[in-house]
């Protein structure tokens, strides 16, 4: 089954060095989506490999700091769809920083949990990553995400908030957060 999502996301502060917004959930869907947040805008897709696992990708532009980020991940559902549906993801993010120019890349893992029926459910996500930059620095993004998703006739809308810190061994940590609104549709 393929679904295409479409996203419009609204509100919040800093993002970057992060896993995909679309994988912090337990219920999988193939979709395409557009996203708009207070700091970033982007588009993404998810393709089901089987009913229990999928590939997903996102391209995001942080319009505040002018950083371009590409994210990709593989997600495996840990149970079949239930009221509580957990999933596990592994992926990679890459950043392109203008001016310098700089480049960053690193892996991330996340655990998602959907709570509720497919038509309307809550989503919780916990993510951790590692990121290396051409400047030689390193940081470890840690994120907590929560969202509400409404799906009807193949269309979906999601309001999500994500916050956390980037642990930077050389300079303590940096607070992060963003609120995002997305809308999408099933193909």
């Amino acid at each position: 089954m393929k679904v295409v999502g479409f996203g419009l996301l609204l509100t919040a502060t800093l993002s970057q060095a992060e896993p995909l917004w679309s994988i912090s959930q337990g219920q999988l869907r193939a979709d395409a989506h557009l996203m708009l947040g207070t700091r970033s805008a982007g588009l993404g897709f998810a393709t089901l490999r089987t009913e229990r696992d999928m590939w997903a990708g996102e391209a995001v532009f942080d319009y505040v700091s002018r950083v371009v980020e590409a994210r990709a991940a593989y997600t495996r559902q840990l149970t079949e769809n239930r009221f509580f549906t957990p999933a596990f993801s592994v992926g990679v993010s890459a950043l392109l920083i203008p001016e310098t120019p700089g480049f960053g890349i690193g892996p991330h893992v996340s655990l998602g949990l959907s709570i509720g029926p497919p038509i309307f459910h809550g989503e919780l996500g916990l993510a951790s990553g590692l990121e290396f930059f051409t400047s030689g620095s390193l940081r470890l993004p840690q994120r907590l995400q929560a969202g509400l998703r409404f799906t009807y006739m193949g269309f979906s809308a999601c309001l999500a908030i994500r916050g956390g810190v980037d642990v930077v061994p050389s300079s303590f940590f940096v607070g992060r957060g963003e609120i995002l609104l997305s809308a999408g549709w099933r193909l």
Binding site: Q16, A17, L95, I97, E99, G102, G104, S171, V174, G175
Partner: protein, 314 residues
């Protein structure tokens, strides 16, 4: 957004400072090649450009015209608001206040710098009184904004501000070996952390003390330190600051300013009154006393005993 050479910046500054110093009730906005002159004050110059790693620059406000007794040249002060890269991917706003000569040019001498970290829920604008007073005395003051206005969430911003002062065009007139770090309240806690990372010549902590996590590292810290406390401070009590001062190694100057409250280190003491924490002296008197102590410290002089302060040198 086009490129702008240092020469053009200086030319623009020169024009602006001349206009402002001659005609105070003026606003002059420079946007690229367009110049607008309007009635009523206060902002002077806006200019955005790309320059190496510095992404964009907005030059604003010129004031304080006339000769300065501490520096043997007629100084004017310019405040610039810049965005710099920090933490690899972030853009951080840093407000830099610095003196220029009577022709609006950068000074040819190397000046000492100060990076100042704002307190919680405060920003660079809340410390303009200090920057505006220090710049004509020959200091270049850089105040970075903080994520969520909480310095604890963006400790690296202070380091970004230091790098800014050591990058073009500021490296031409800032002594990279003489940049102090300071902070007020929560910013003081973060200033200690930045000082411990290195790269700063002095440490100034206003109405604050060190994080307990930094006690161990402070034992081996050796740069001159100023702890500035307000006698009437209801948030960082004088007793607490005196007790915590034992964690700082020598050379240390612990200065208590009589009658001063927590927010009298900022532009406004209104929050003190709202919290029913009444100052013992006026805001202007508090600023004058704090400025005198800070100036002596940043100039590397011992703090002179005076009315209104209690000095303990270790």
């Amino acid at each position: 957004m086009g490129h702008l050479s240092q020469e053009k910046i200086v030319t623009a500054l020169k024009e602006v400072t001349q206009v402002i110093c001659k005609h105070h009730p003026f606003t002059l906005n420079l946007q690229g090649a367009n110049t607008f002159v309007t009635e009523r004050a206060p902002t002077v110059l806006w200019y955005r450009y790309d320059m190496n790693r510095l992404v964009s620059l907005m030059l604003t406000v010129c004031f304080s015209c006339g000769p300065n007794p501490d520096v043997n040249v007629a100084l004017q002060v310019v405040r610039s608001s810049l965005q710099v890269r920090a933490n690899d991917t972030d853009l951080v706003n840093v407000e830099v206040t610095y003196p220029v000569d009577d022709q609006g040019r950068f000074l040819k001498t190397k000046l000492p710098g100060l990076v100042f970290v704002p307190g919680g829920l405060l920003g660079p604008a809340d410390y303009r009184w200090l920057a505006d007073a220090l710049a004509p005395r020959g200091f270049v003051v850089a105040i970075p904004e903080q994520s969520l206005r909480l310095a604890f969430f963006s400790i690296g911003n202070g380091e970004a501000a230091r790098k800014l002062l050591t990058s073009s065009p500021y490296d031409a007139f800032v002594n990279a070996d003489n940049i102090a770090i300071g902070g007020h309240s929560l910013g003081g806690v973060v200033a200690v952390k930045l000082a411990l990372k290195g790269g700063f010549s002095q440490l100034m902590v206003q109405a604050s003390y060190a994080d307990t996590a930094d006690y161990k590292a402070l034992e081996s810290y050796s740069k001159p330190t100023l702890l500035l406390a307000g006698e009437n401070d209801c948030m960082a009590s004088i007793d607490r600051i005196k007790a915590e001062s034992a964690k700082f190694p020598t050379p240390l100057a612990l200065v208590t300013v009589k009658g001063v409250t927590h927010y009298q280190f900022t532009n406004s003491d209104a929050p003190d009154f709202q919290k029913k924490c009444d100052p013992g002296i006026s805001l202007d008197d508090a600023h004058a006393t704090v400025l005198s102590v800070v100036t002596q410290f940043l100039q590397g002089r011992p703090i002179s005993p005076a009315d209104g302060i209690e000095v303990e040198q270790r």
